[in-house]
Amino acid sequence: MTQPDELSRRGMLMKLGLLFNAAVGTILAVPIMRYVLSPMIRERNAGQDPWVALGLLDKFPPGQTRFATYRHPSANPSDGETANIPCWVRHVDGEKFQVFAINCAHLGCPVRWFPQSGLFMCPCHGGVYYQDGSRASGPPERGLFEYRYKVEQGKLLIQAGEMPTTGVPTASLTNISVKRPPCA
């Protein structure tokens, strides 16, 4: 057997070896990538988020806005108190409610309700909203995020999904874009 022949044979074997490892790597990469990307691949179905109860209706007197919390439905025991999610409940009248996410529509800081002036104010960058959640002033480009709600057996239920962010008009949260007349 001549020298170059042998070299090419060894080269061939090395290439085959590399190819073999590339194939095994690709096969392994599929489950690994699925594992890494699993939070992204999770189903994001409109209206599929579970309903959670915020409490009996008499916790929310008509015409007032009250603080409420719920345990996130997908919480694990290790999540501790981070899975207790707050929100603001505005009881308009009768069975008409507005349930606002706590997160400012600007960058997600917790907004606070001031009943005296009828405003939500954000402590971070100064976003302000009216009592119906629409934008009053500051950097937010839209109103507060709103949960879908229903009243059942004297309880107020909301559809709890992901943390609302500007870029995620999530299934269970709706956009408030009330256009106010200039003299309202």
């Binding site: 603080f67 981070t82 899975a83 999610i85 606070r112 402590p123 100064g126 950097p139």
Partner: protein, 485 residues
Amino acid sequence: MRLIKKLRDWFDERLDLATPIRETMEHPVPRQTASWAYVFGSAALTVFVLQLVTGILLALVYVPSAGEAWNSLQVLNHQVTLGWFIRALHGWGSNFMIAIVLIHMVQVFLFGAYKFPRELTWIVGVLLLLLTLGMAFTGQVLRFDQDAYWGLGIGASISSRVPVLGPSIVNLLLGGPMIAGATLSRFFALHVFVIPGSLIAFVGLHLLLVLKLGINEWPMPGRVVRRATYLSEYHELTRKDGVPFVPGAVAKDLFFSGFILLSIAACALYFGPFGPSGQPDPTIIQTAPRPDYFFLWLYAVLSLLPPSMETPALLIGPVIALVVLVSLPFFSGEGEKSWRRRPIAVLTILLVAVALGTFTHLAGYAPWSPVMDAWSGEPIPAQYLKGRTALERQGALVFQEKQCHNCHALSGVGGKRGPELDRVAVQLTSDQLIRQVIQGGGNMPAYGNNLNPAETTALVAFLGTLYPAGQTPARDASRATGVQP
């Protein structure tokens, strides 16, 4: 002594490293680089080692679980012997690390050290800066307190603005639909495995490049870098006017590194550890989240940008900055190195420094945020109540009750979100005041739905008294010309 030599010989027989190590240590460097200006790189390396050691020590106690992390920091602060000091060393080490890395970068930029043939050294350095900032942000998250929780919310909100991919990126970042256990665990993996691993690898590469290419010579005005001749000129310089790195140039590095370590320890001892602030319970909303010191400028920028420019600035700004930094050695790879002949370089540094400094300073007192408790905590100055009518005093009550004080200061006290009102009666007539209160505008909410006519009348009567002595309040000239009834 003989035993030590025997041991050394035994190892060297097997490793054969003594000669290359000696050669590396004694490699000649230009004499003038044995300067205090060249000590920041080695200082950054020293602080990095300190961070590795203190980080491992903290990991002995820290529990990376959303339910337990905050408590484990309390244990470190209050129960473990000197746990507070190790936390303080790690926290202050991180601040010093960023500061030194930035100074190192400015020095390298002003000395033209990024030019041929050290382009790759610079690019790896840019990568190291990004990784360092990544460590700072993920470290802030591991201090799992209120600021960390809402800081993650801000990070998620920013990521969500990426077109198309935004929602997926948020879920990937948080490890699920909300900020919870999975979020902390992945930031722990980043802060403890992924980023430090990359840092060690790239610091190694950075050092290898410095050794291979030689330390940048002291820039002389007029000594111009040309690709064709630079390498031979540099070798000529080190041959003729070089000193061995050890011991010729290393003394200042050693002293400065020791001084920095001592400063970190002094800060840790005197100021103590950072936080944690309140526990990461999102239902405690009486909080005003603030980022750590080196991200304060970003906090200010996010408040001050016009809303419509925010998303483009957030998404495109970092890309532009990165492209400029990485491509710098390619469009400016030759020519003058000395800052004396590079006025634009000096001006750029000054501009960036002044901008970052101003934004950081502004973020220190956040004039854009309403002062949430001014309406109940800051009384109206007494001089604005003396000798006023009952209606005007009633107006002062409305001013407090409706939280006007949260955004408007009186005598320098109160919110700075809106204008100070000590002279408002000079600027606006009572009709204009009514319109502003009812309709809002100019970034003020409309209070039309929230004030009854009596309250509005009283409030405007009070505002009408706010003018300095010796000036007269604004009046509507057209009324004066009207026929008096």
